[in-house]
Symmetry: C2
Subunit: 217 residues, 2 copies
């Protein structure tokens, strides 16, 4: 149906549309895919011709209903495979993303639904991201970050925004995973560092960037 590149662009545009309200520009897409804006312009033309996106210099790139539906299905496959890799094959949560980047492109009409069933219809992937349903409905993702909380609040780690190995391995070192209980004790005025207590244990200080990449419940 789609080429590998087309799918990666669709997914990238979808992700950008989810993670903020900024205009989706060729440069933004180029950054997210780590390629050249000139290449992006070419692909924008191609996807526009295929009626998967619309591009307006003022409004930026938008997925059409068809483009959105298919982007969501790719994300669905990605997240289901991540669950499989972690739960069935015993990978750690910092190893699964790159493999799922390849698996998500396997095209078979019933594969995702069978995998979904096999995994017991999981709601969230191992990073706390919601898994789109077979009908294309996407459960609402978590949106409040650790950095948004008021001093003294207790919370549960629900998801991570950054899925890079370095961030996930740092979390592992701090004994933080999905479900971990965190209490925000103090915000350092100087640089917005956060003093937290992890699972009621001794205090730890983390950066603002760190706090902004943890979604809580």
């Amino acid at each position: 149906m789609y080429t590998l590149s087309e799918e990666n662009y669709l997914k990238s545009i979808y992700r950008l549309s989810q993670q903020s309200n900024f205009k989706i520009t060729p440069t933004a897409i180029a950054e997210s895919l780590k390629n050249n804006p000139a290449s992006v312009v070419d692909m924008i033309r191609k996807l526009t011709d295929k009626q998967l996106i619309e591009y307006d210099k003022k409004k930026g790139v938008k997925l059409t209903p068809v483009g959105l539906k298919d982007a969501v299905l790719i994300v669905r496959r990605h997240r289901l495979w991540e669950v499989f890799l972690l739960e069935k094959l015993g990978y750690h949560w910092d190893e699964i993303h790159d493999i799922a980047e390849e698996l998500e492109h396997i095209s078979d009409a019933t594969l995702a639904d069978r995998l979904d069933k096999f995994l017991g219809f999981p709601e969230y992937d191992p990073h706390g991201d919601p898994i789109p349903k077979a009908n294309g409905k996407v459960p609402k993702p978590y949106s409040v970050t650790l950095a948004d909380l008021k001093i003294g609040t207790n919370c549960r780690v629900a998801a991570v925004k950054d899925t890079s190995s370095s961030f996930l391995q740092y979390l592992q070192k701090l004994d933080i995973g999905i479900g971990t209980n965190i209490k925000l004790l103090e915000k350092i005025t100087y640089d917005n560092s956060l003093v937290i207590s992890i699972n009621d244990k001794e205090n730890t200080t983390v950066s603002q960037k760190f706090g902004e990449n943890i979604l809580v419940d």
Copy 2:
């Protein structure tokens, strides 16, 4: 490591080297991959440069030790995924080959071994083909076909040579699968058709071609 095309060529050359002693020519490879001999000549040059094959006009194409090792690993992945698709996701044996053709190219150092373990280290894939071991050893495949048997012999279906949907669906209709018991009752002299009894049930006549594509134990 390798491109999709390189992997498909390696696998194709490996398969040709397994299924007969004929010289592996550009034309033979072209047929097996359904593409043009001219394209094959290009790729032979490329794989030769990479020292994965050797090509001699007299002897044809041969895999080098490195090429052989990697071809076997691709086949290993293919067959393991076939087991997964059948046993875990509930596909039928005529549906799995094409999906495994895509899955076999997922490259991750430990994926095949984890999958192998998850599946309980299966010896054979759903078509009866032996699954190469992690160390590259390939169990000996079955080699005696139904057409090779003497009249009156009883046998167990061990593997199928042809994995096309049409053949597998025909087998399904006849209630023949891996493990089915077959007794060869008669060979029709005229066209080598075979009269067989399936699981001791009523007699059926099948073609010579059919008999040559069933491997027995």
